[in-house]
Symmetry: C2
Subunit: 151 residues, 2 copies
Amino acid sequence: MENIIMQPIGYVHNAVEGKKHTDWGKDVSFIRLKKEYRGGLMGMESFSHAIILFYLDKAKFIPEKHLQRHPQNREDMPVVGIFSQRTKDRPNTIGLTSVSILSVDETTLTVKGLDAIDGTPVLDIKPYYPVYDKKDASVPEWVDRLMEHYF
Amino acid sequence: MENIIMQPIGYVHNAVEGKKHTDWGKDVSFIRLKKEYRGGLMGMESFSHAIILFYLDKAKFIPEKHLQRHPQNREDMPVVGIFSQRTKDRPNTIGLTSVSILSVDETTLTVKGLDAIDGTPVLDIKPYYPVYDKKDASVPEWVDRLMEHYF
């Protein structure tokens, strides 16, 4: 046992409550920082995108169910390990999403495309640096099939 | 106070000890999973890249020093907030790096380009999906100057 203890830097506020929501790309979310982090977004208005790390507090990793599974429980997908898929039910339920920035003020980052429900704790915000993109990245064919409804 | 408790899924093993190491792109690192996650990498060999989330256990956020600062303490950079830069001394010291995959077996992911020292706890491994790249992302001019030595 080696516990790592974190605290939210703020919370997501949006109109998304349902778990079965899928059209995340269009949602506007407000990330409100705790008071002690006021000013921590200075300069963010010069970036077009940010990376949001959030804590999926409703998700839960059940080893016998999630260590290896079909992505999205689809039978037409191969069985793969938890670290080879992006599902939320992981050992540490950290969500990672790149979003576009709509506006910034002293305590609130307003973004589009965050796939987190209302009230989700936020762990970190990082500016998006396109130099870190992996332009030569390749994925197995099942990922293309999995993503075809989203892109 | 709302504590979020996590545990490492494994640890980084490499030859990097020094804090002043900068040439991370060439380093080979072994991410060894804990026994209970054996099999969690199944299918990862079909991906070229992975995203590693790790816990910077030596970093520490000191508000008066880090809430707003010059990136890399360089005077030729503007003062920006902690969430507008990628420095390690953040409220939750989570490192996020996309790496290339060299090999995979039941308990070990061997990667290139991880900027973490030997012994660093790993929080999560996710497959890299290039569809999530933001091809239209833009950054302020200081980021280009900051990055010019690395790319």
